[in-house]
């Protein structure tokens, strides 16, 4: 697994780094690749590798170090080359992605961008002078949602599920695996038709419209599509049994979820919160729970690593 992970990162992430960083990253051992979650690169700052709970840097020789003063300092030239590389030297082709603040790489990995934002008529027009990049490594953990199936599946149907957790606790990974399991079907049970509305291209990790991560054989993906509009589109045209979407947070998302439920379509979604108490307090989810939009809540934490199932509640 570690070897596989190392190969994947070396093949899918490292070629997009600047030549100077590529040399240092290639010197890393397999075990380090196995726990690598993020590579953060900020102009004139040392490179940061987030590995599980700890953040380390790469020194000039490519060795890991906890002392950030010894870290390789990312310069403008590095960033310029990396931006050129991740955008395939074609800013115009990734204009819309850059406006949203990220670019998806083959393999479903996502690169977050920060820089000078130019607004036009109160909307983000473009981003220039990019000063930070965050490579988030997409990892599939097949089978990580298997234990959740007994809580999700009901006779003839499934429950409406809300996966809750703070950032970096594995919400997306759990949602993806749940989708894969439900869309795969089981012996004596037909697979469900699922539509993923993947606004941030994280769930299916689409590259050029093709899912790079396994989301099951009966799944349609609306990639880079706004959640609310995507759910309506799916309802009208794709006849889904289940709609899966990540990180609901706006009023229109809640309204779209309600429309889906009214149409008899099940919804599996996620929400940023640290506890179920917070879910009950927050206005959007408070209203949704009052309307009995979700029947099962799953709370995740990092207690035993990302994706730790902290608590499961039934709201029905």
């Amino acid at each position: 697994m570690t070897n596989e992970s190392a190969l994947k990162i070396q093949k899918e992430i490292v070629p997009y780094l600047s030549p100077a960083l590529q040399t240092k990253m290639r010197a890393l051992d397999e075990r380090s690749y196995g726990t690598l979650e993020e590579i953060r690169l900020r102009v004139n700052q040392p490179v940061v590798l987030n590995m599980g709970e700890r953040g380390v840097t790469l020194d000039d020789k490519g060795a890991l170090s906890g002392d950030f003063k010894r870290g390789y300092i990312v310069n403008k030239e590095d960033l310029k080359r990396m931006v050129a590389s991740i955008s395939e030297n074609s800013y115009y082709a990734y204009e819309e992605d850059i406006k949203k603040g990220f670019i998806t790489l083959p393999g479903g990995h996502r690169v977050g961008l920060a820089g000078q934002v130019v607004c036009r008529q109160n909307e983000i027009g473009m981003m220039k002078n990019i000063s930070s990049l965050c490579f988030r490594i997409a990892r599939e953990k097949k089978g990580c949602a298997e234990n959740l199936l007994p809580y999700v599946e009901r006779e003839e149907s499934i429950a409406n599920v809300l996966v809750v957790s703070p950032p970096r606790c594995g919400k997306t990974t759990i949602l993806r695996d749940l989708t894969r399991l439900l869309a795969g079907g089981k012996e004596g049970q037909a697979a469900k038709n699922i539509v993923i509305v993947d606004e941030r291209s994280e769930l299916a990790g689409c590259y050029g419209g093709t899912p790079q991560l396994d989301v099951g054989g009966h799944t349609d993906v609306l990639d880079a599509c706004p959640k609310a509009a995507g759910m309506m589109m799916a309802l009208r045209s794709l006849a889904p049994q289940i709609i899966v979407t990540d990180e609901i947070g706006r009023d229109e998302d809640a309204a779209a979820v309600q429309e889906c439920l009214n149409a008899g379509v099940k919804v599996i979604s996620s929400f940023h919160a640290a506890s179920f108490d917070e879910v009950k307090r927050r206005l959007l989810t408070k209203r949704m729970l009052a309307a009995e939009a979700f029947q099962v809540g799953i709370l995740l934490s990092r207690r035993n690593g990302p994706g730790t199932i902290q608590e499961i509640v039934r709201w029905d």
Binding site: A84, S90, Y92, A93
Partner: protein
């Protein structure tokens, strides 16, 4: 006597052939400017209408045109496809050094193309369009300016070559 006659013929023929080759180069240059304009137009459409990533767009443009111009676009695409951390501007400049060897284009056209290197691939669709349009228009002007004189220049080189050869022979005799 025979040696002198043979030498004279060789000098006249040599200068004449040189003139003919230079005249051919003028025609070739005009043809390549036209090809270059068409290629830039093709590239612009791939970028602005199809949003094709640059390496692929350059490769498509290379397929679209022939000879030295096609080779230039193909080479630029190859440099980018190698994914060696090279930027579009660097690939474009490397392509230009090869174009210099394989084309009849002069410094003025190559200088215009050099200007594209800083812009290609690094900006929004509108900016890409502006940049390619501008070069195209400038090449059009060069083409128009030189087209009128092309025949005169060609004649000058053809006749000039033979005349130069004859004058040299006369001076030597």
């Amino acid at each position: 006597m025979w040696v002198k006659a043979l030498g004279s013929i060789l000098i006249v023929l040599g200068c004449g052939v040189w003139g003919l080759l230079e005249a051919k180069k003028i025609r070739r240059r005009m043809k390549q400017i036209k090809e270059l304009r068409l290629a830039l137009n093709f590239l612009e459409k791939d970028i602005t209408l199809m949003y094709v990533p640059l390496a692929e767009a350059l490769d498509n443009t290379g397929d679209f045109c022939n000879g030295g111009i096609g080779y230039f676009f193909k080479r630029c695409a190859q440099f980018l496809q190698e994914k060696s951390g090279i930027t579009a501007g660097e690939a474009w400049r490397l392509g230009l050094t090869e174009l210099k060897k394989h084309s009849a284009l002069r410094e003025v056209e190559l200088h215009l193309l050099e200007g594209v290197a800083d812009q290609i691939g690094v900006s929004e669709v509108k900016e890409q369009q502006k940049c390619l349009d501008l070069v195209n228009e400038q090449l059009k002007m060069i083409e128009a300016q030189n087209y009128e004189n092309m025949e005169n220049q060609q004649k000058l080189w053809i006749y000039g070559g033979f005349v130069l050869g004859t004058v040299t022979v006369l001076l030597l005799i």
